[in-house]
């Protein structure tokens, strides 16, 4: 009995799931609950991973891997593929042994265990973290034919922790306090100077990421979150905060994370990430497939606040259309935008342009180069152009 139905078991792969057949998994019991007490993506998603560009750095211990933005479905970056930036590899920190020390120009220096830290009033915020080198390989010309590699030094998560201001109220501040040095427990002992004003504004000391403990890749058990500012200042594996009256001018804020201008002078302390956006579909990894209606999709963000508007051009910037923004639009967070695109199959030059709530308009690469030349490495927030060819393939190009 039931042989017509069971016949599904003998069909070729393409036919099995098509009605009227039943797939094997519809005819049997699968694994039960707590088969996996901590779940994983489907094995059919095995290609959705962080990837690196081996030629970019001397060694993987001081390097970066990229978020597969071409697969990101909403504003939350899955913790499993959130980009990683290490300067001495990833330390494996035992939270019971970890300490956060706060000292310097304070009334009462403080040494905190993770348990102490979690007891303070907590807040959760959705914010992006972007490395200012994101896209930095493209100042001189289009190099990488990939969304993941041109824009993947970014992730957005729900972070939970303590306001840095709460901790600094607990220690008290003494006269002259103006700067905070943050230091990591990794081999690089990563250190950055941050103006006290920003610390008291919206910075957090976070131990939670997307509902669970921070991932080791993002600083377990505790990191700084400096909303809207360059990734590097969000010190991971945070162990020390020293309050001082002047900046330290550390290697990461002099030799690195400064932008060399055409006149040979350099800009330093250029922390905020200005408004930026990118189309995530179509993109080199996600081509179009013949004429028809598509939904152009992308992300916009600004380190200065909320995204106010995103426009999309199909003709390399001659004409623009207003894209739809996806709620919730949160400050200093990835914001999804979409626009219907009836593609006639002719070549197109796709661009997106973000405008943030300060009124700042994302510039073209040409405009950026006019001011900054091609040597800054960092803070390349230019409009990205995707060339869509008649066959639907997509290439990373730069326009005059």
């Amino acid at each position: 009995a039931g042989s017509a139905l069971l016949a599904g078991r003998g069909l070729r792969a393409e036919e099995v799931a098509s009605p009227p057949a039943e797939a094997p998994y519809s005819l049997s019991l699968g694994p039960g609950v707590v088969d996996r007490v901590y779940g994983q993506p489907s094995r059919f998603e095995a290609g959705v991973i962080r990837r690196n560009v081996p030629w970019l750095t001397a060694s993987p211990e001081t390097s970066i891997s990229f978020t597969p933005l071409q697969h990101q479905q909403g504003i939350i970056t899955p913790s499993g593929v959130f980009f990683e930036r290490y300067h001495a590899g990833r330390p494996t920190v035992d939270p019971s042994e970890h300490r956060l020390m706060i000292h310097g120009l304070v009334d009462r220096p403080l040494l905190l265990t993770m348990e102490d830290l979690r007891r303070f009033p907590s807040v959760s915020r959705i914010h992006f973290i972007e490395c200012p080198a994101n896209g930095g390989m493209e100042w001189r010309g289009a190099q990488l034919n990939s969304l993941q590699f041109t824009h993947g030094m970014i992730g957005c998560a729900e972070w939970t922790g303590v306001k840095l201001s709460t901790l600094l109220e607990e220690t008290g501040l003494t006269r002259g306090a103006k700067w905070v040095l943050a230091e990591g427990a990794d081999g690089a002992h990563m250190n950055r100077s941050i103006p006290l004003e920003k610390c008291l504004d919206d910075c957090l000391v976070v131990y939670g990421q997307n509902g669970e403990a921070l991932r080791p890749e993002q600083g377990y058990p505790v990191r700084l979150l400096i909303p809207g500012w360059q990734g590097n200042v969000n010190v991971k594996w945070l162990r020390r905060l020293e309050i001082g009256n002047q900046p330290w001018f550390t290697r990461e804020e002099t030799s690195k994370y400064t932008e060399l201008m055409p006149d040979g002078r350099a800009r330093g302390f250029t922390w905020p990430l200005y408004a930026k956006s990118v189309i995530t579909f179509p993109c080199p990894e996600m081509p179009a497939k013949g004429p028809g209606i598509y939904e152009i999709r992308g992300f916009a963000w600004s380190g200065l606040g909320k995204v106010a508007q995103v426009d999309v051009s199909l003709d390399g910037g001659v004409n623009w259309q207003r894209a739809r923004l996806q709620e919730p639009v949160l400050p200093k967070a990835l914001t999804r935008f979409t626009l219907e695109w009836r593609w006639d199959g002719r070549p197109a030059l796709l661009q997106s342009r973000a405008v943030d709530e300060t009124g700042f308009v994302q510039p073209t690469l040409a405009a950026l180069r006019r001011v900054r030349g091609t040597n800054p490495i960092y803070n390349k927030n230019a409009i990205q152009t995707w060339q869509v060819k008649a066959d639907g393939t997509v290439f990373n190009v730069q326009l005059a």
Partner: protein
């Protein structure tokens, strides 16, 4: 809250020894520099043993490891910023080498060894003479060639585009000047991680 009275009272007060044990940051004015000293000559020895393999005998950098010496121009096509032509403060060298170098064994050098390598790297860059001895007094006084090369006030926004919607540029001026098509720099973005791409 009354000054001196913590609101929550969580945690403990670190001892001065505990603070000193972690407070390794060094400032341009010398704050944070430990006792000790090191000469260019002593530095040469440490450098050859502990640093040259990556940074090159003359600070020229091996493979993709950073070049440590260079006096080239900071303008033009591909400037190479290094200690000599770029770093504004000599104290930063102490701070960084002391916390992060040698790369595979950070914090394994004594204060003397760090002072010595700092002196050596400065000398490689012709910033100090061969007789230079680095210590907490001499280092803050070293005037780096690019000391005044930085603007520490963010001048942005430095672009002032308008969100024009129609006929924003001449269609005939829309021209591709660069493309990633045909370049072989992009690792694979499907399947397992691309491990064949050369470093």
């Amino acid at each position: 809250e009354e000054r001196g009275a913590p609101r929550y009272g969580y945690g403990t007060v670190p001892t001065p020894e505990q603070i000193a044990g972690w407070a390794i940051a060094v400032r341009p004015d010398g704050q944070g520099l430990p006792p000790g000293r090191g000469s260019v000559e002593q530095g040469a020895e440490v450098y050859m043993q502990q640093c040259a393999a990556c940074h090159g005998t003359f600070g020229e950098g091996e493979g993709r490891y950073p070049k440590l010496a260079g006096e080239g121009s900071l303008t033009g096509e591909r400037p190479e910023p290094t200690v000599g032509n770029y770093w504004p403060f000599a104290t930063t060298l102490f701070d960084y080498i002391n916390r992060a170098m040698p790369f595979p064994a950070p914090r394994s050098l004594s204060a003397e060894e760090v002072y010595a390598t700092v002196a050596y790297v400065l000398n490689l860059n012709n910033v100090v003479p061969a007789e230079f001895v680095a210590d907490r007094d001499s280092l803050p006084k070293v005037r780096m060639p690019n000391r005044d090369g930085f603007l520490w006030q963010d001048p942005r926004p430095d672009t002032h585009e308008q969100a024009c919607m129609q006929d924003c540029r001449k269609p005939e001026e829309v021209r591709i000047v660069s493309t990633a098509e045909g370049k072989t720099l992009t690792p694979r973005t499907t399947g397992p991680l691309d491990t064949e791409m050369p470093q």
